[in-house]
C-alpha cells in the first residue's frame, strides 16, 4: 500500500515538474512549448560526450553530484533561454497556433541535432549509482533514488512557490501572467520576465533529465517525449497557465497511472494509459477550464 503511494508520488513528481515547466512559459507568453520535451532530452544527453558509438562516453555524468546537478540544470536553462532569444522572441506577436508550430519545429531541430551527434541507439549509463540501494521508510522498501526524487521535488516546488510569491521577479511574473500589457505599462520589462520564465522552465527540464537518467540508467532520444505528453495533459487539466493547477494535476495523473497499474487486471495493464486518457477526457468534460482556472486571458505582449 505504502509502496503504491511512493510510486505515485515519484511518478507524479516527474509529471508535476514537467507540467510546471510548460505552465510557466504559457503563463507569460501564451505559448504551449512542445520543444520542452526535447530540452529534457538535450539535458540528458549533456551527461555524455558526443559519439555515435554504441557505448556511452560519459562526460558530465562522471561529475560528483554537487557539480553534476547545477551543470545539468544550467544546460536546461541555457538551452531554454537560447530558444527564447533565437526563436520565440520573433514570434511574440504571432498567434498562439503559429507559436505552437514554431515550438514543434524547434523540437525537431533539437532532436535531429542530438541524433546527429549521438545516433538514435539508447545508451546505458550508470548515473549516481549509490542511489539505487534500497532504503526502508515506514516499513516500505524503496530505492533511495525514489525517496530523493520525492524529497527533491517537494523542495523545488516549495522553493519555486516562495520565489514566485515573495520576490520582486516573482511578482512581476505573476502580474505579467495575468495581464502582460498592463504590467509593461507599469514598467515591467517584457524581455526580462520572459527570459526568466524560460530559464526556470529549462532548469526544471534539467531536473527531470537527472531524475530520468538515474531512474532508467539509460540515455535515450525518446526520453523527454513520454513525460512531456503526460505533463502537457497535466497543464491542461490543471488549468492552462495555473502553476498550482499544473502541479496538482501532475501528481493526480501520476497517482492515477500507478493506481491503475495495480488495480487493473493483468491483461488490461498494457492499456493503462488509455484508462488515464479516459479519465482526462472525463475531467475536461466536467471542468473545461481545468481544476484551477488561471486568471487573465487578456492578450499577451
Amino acid at each position: 500500500m505504502l509502496q503504491v503511494l511512493f510510486d505515485a508520488l515519484s511518478l507524479g513528481s516527474l509529471y508535476a515538474l514537467g507540467a510546471l515547466g510548460i505552465a510557466l512559459i504559457f503563463g507569460v507568453m501564451r505559448l504551449v512549448n512542445f520543444a520542452h520535451g526535447d530540452v529534457i532530452a538535450f539535458a540528458v544527453f549533456a551527461l555524455l560526450w558526443p559519439s555515435v558509438d554504441a557505448v556511452a562516453i560519459v562526460f558530465a555524468g562522471k561529475m560528483p553530484w554537487f557539480l553534476l546537478i547545477p551543470f545539468i540544470l544550467a544546460v536546461g536553462a541555457g538551452l531554454s533561454v537560447l530558444s527564447e532569444v533565437v526563436v520565440f522572441r520573433r514570434f511574440r506577436h504571432a498567434s498562439p497556433a503559429t507559436m505552437m508550430i514554431a515550438s514543434f519545429a524547434l523540437g525537431f531541430v533539437i532532436r535531429y541535432f542530438l541524433l546527429m551527434l549521438f545516433s538514435s541507439r539508447p545508451k546505458s549509463i550508470s548515473l549516481l549509482p549509490a542511489l539505487s540501494q534500497p532504503v526502508e521508510v515506514l516499513g516500505a522498501r524503496m530505492p533511495l533514488l525514489q525517496l530523493i526524487t520525492i524529497v527533491a521535488t517537494l523542495v523545488m516546488l516549495t522553493g519555486l512557490s516562495v520565489f514566485v510569491r515573495r520576490t520582486r521577479f516573482g511578482l512581476e511574473m505573476r502580474a505579467a501572467a495575468e495581464n502582460f500589457t498592463m504590467a509593461r505599462m507599469l514598467g515591467v520589462r517584457a524581455n526580462r520576465v520572459i527570459m526568466g520564465a524560460f530559464a526556470l522552465s529549462g532548469a526544471l527540464a534539467g531536473a527531470i533529465a537527472i531524475i530520468l537518467g538515474s531512474q532508467t540508467g539509460t540515455v535515450d532520444i525518446q526520453m523527454g517525449g513520454a513525460v512531456m505528453l503526460m505533463a502537457f495533459i497535466a497543464t491542461v487539466i490543471g488549468g492552462l497557465g495555473s502553476l498550482e493547477g499544473a502541479v496538482l494535476a501532475g501528481f493526480l495523473i501520476g497517482a492515477a497511472s500507478v493506481v491503475m497499474q495495480t488495480v487493473l487486471p493483468p491483461e488490461a495493464r498494457p492499456f493503462r494509459d488509455a484508462f488515464v486518457y479516459g479519465a482526462v477526457i472525463l475531467v475536461l468534460l466536467f471542468r473545461p477550464q481545468g481544476l484551477i482556472a488561471a486568471r487573465g486571458t487578456k492578450e499577451r505582449v
Binding site: R168, L171, E172, R174, A175, E178, N179, T181, M182, A183, R184, M185, L186, G187, V188, R189, A190, R295, G296, K298
Partner: protein
C-alpha cells in the same frame, strides 16, 4: 516646452483608420480632457501614446524625446503612466502587490523595498480605503475602489504625466466625484500633468482646463472646456450626444 507632443498621428487596424492625423501638445502641469462619442478613437490614441499599439504614421514626443514605437515599459520608465480603459487591475494579486508592481522601475537602484514602502505610504494617504484592504485580492474590490487602486498604482511609478482612459466608466456619479476630487488634489500636490479621456464633456466643464473634442478619428475642437460649454459648436459636434450623462 511641451511635455507631450502628438504630431499627425494616424492609427489603423487593418483597413480601418481609427485615428487620422491627430495633433496636439500638452504643457507641463496642464490638465487636458479628450472627449468624444463612442468609437471616436480616444482609446486608440491613448494606446498609441503608451506604446501598446504603435501608430501607422506621425510621431509622439514626451519630455523632449521621441517615443514613437518605443516599448510600453520604456515609455512608463520615462515618466508617462497610463491607466487604461477598463482599469485592468491584477485581480489575483493583493492590493498591495498591485501597487508594488509599479515600482519595478527602481530595481536598478538598490533598496527598492524602502522606496516602495515610502511610495506606498503616500498612496495610502491619498486612498485610505486601499490601506484598509491592502491584503485582500484586488479582484474583489468594487468598481470605485478598483479605480482608486489603478490611479494609486500609476502613482507608484512616480510619473510626470498620468493619462487616464474613462475613469468614470461604470461608476455611480458620487463615486466619480470622489475619484475626481483625488485626481485634482494629486495634481495640485504633485504638480502632475493630467490627460483624461471621457465620453462626456460634462466632467471637463465642471473641472475646467483644456478640452479636445474628437469624432470619427479627428479633432473637431480644441480649447478651454468651460468656454466651449457655452458655445453651440460643441452641441453641433456631439449631435446632441451630451444628454443623459453624469
Amino acid at each position: 516646452m511641451s511635455l507631450l507632443a502628438v504630431s499627425d498621428v494616424t492609427i489603423r487596424y487593418g483597413r480601418l483608420t481609427a485615428v487620422r492625423e491627430v495633433a496636439f501638445t500638452l504643457a507641463e502641469g496642464e490638465i487636458l480632457f479628450i472627449t468624444g462619442p463612442n468609437g471616436a478613437g480616444k482609446s486608440s490614441l491613448m494606446r498609441a501614446i503608451a506604446g501598446v499599439t504603435p501608430p501607422a504614421g506621425g510621431r509622439i514626443d514626451f519630455g523632449g524625446a521621441e517615443i514613437t514605437g518605443r516599448a510600453p515599459e520604456d515609455i512608463a520608465r520615462m515618466g508617462l503612466s497610463m491607466v487604461p480603459e477598463g482599469r485592468d487591475v491584477f485581480g489575483s494579486l493583493s492590493i498591495e502587490e498591485n501597487l508594488i508592481v509599479g515600482t519595478g522601475m527602481h530595481t536598478r537602484e538598490r533598496g527598492w523595498r524602502v522606496r516602495a514602502a515610502s511610495a506606498l505610504e503616500e498612496v495610502y494617504d491619498t486612498f485610505p480605503i486601499l490601506k484598509e484592504r491592502r491584503h485582500s485580492q484586488a479582484g474583489l474590490l468594487s468598481g470605485g475602489q478598483q479605480q482608486m487602486l489603478v490611479i494609486g498604482r500609476a502613482l507608484m511609478t512616480n510619473p510626470r504625466l498620468i493619462a487616464i482612459d474613462e475613469p468614470s466608466l461604470g461608476l455611480a456619479p458620487n463615486i466619480t466625484d470622489q475619484v475626481y476630487e483625488r485626481l485634482i488634489g494629486l495634481r495640485r500636490h504633485r504638480k502632475l500633468t493630467l490627460l483624461i479621456v471621457e465620453q462626456s464633456s460634462t466632467r471637463a466643464m465642471m473641472v475646467g482646463g483644456r478640452m479636445i473634442l474628437m469624432r470619427g478619428g479627428q479633432i473637431l475642437l480644441d480649447g478651454d472646456a468651460q468656454a466651449m460649454g457655452q458655445s453651440e459648436a460643441l452641441q453641433a459636434a456631439y449631435f446632441g450626444y451630451a444628454e443623459g450623462e453624469h
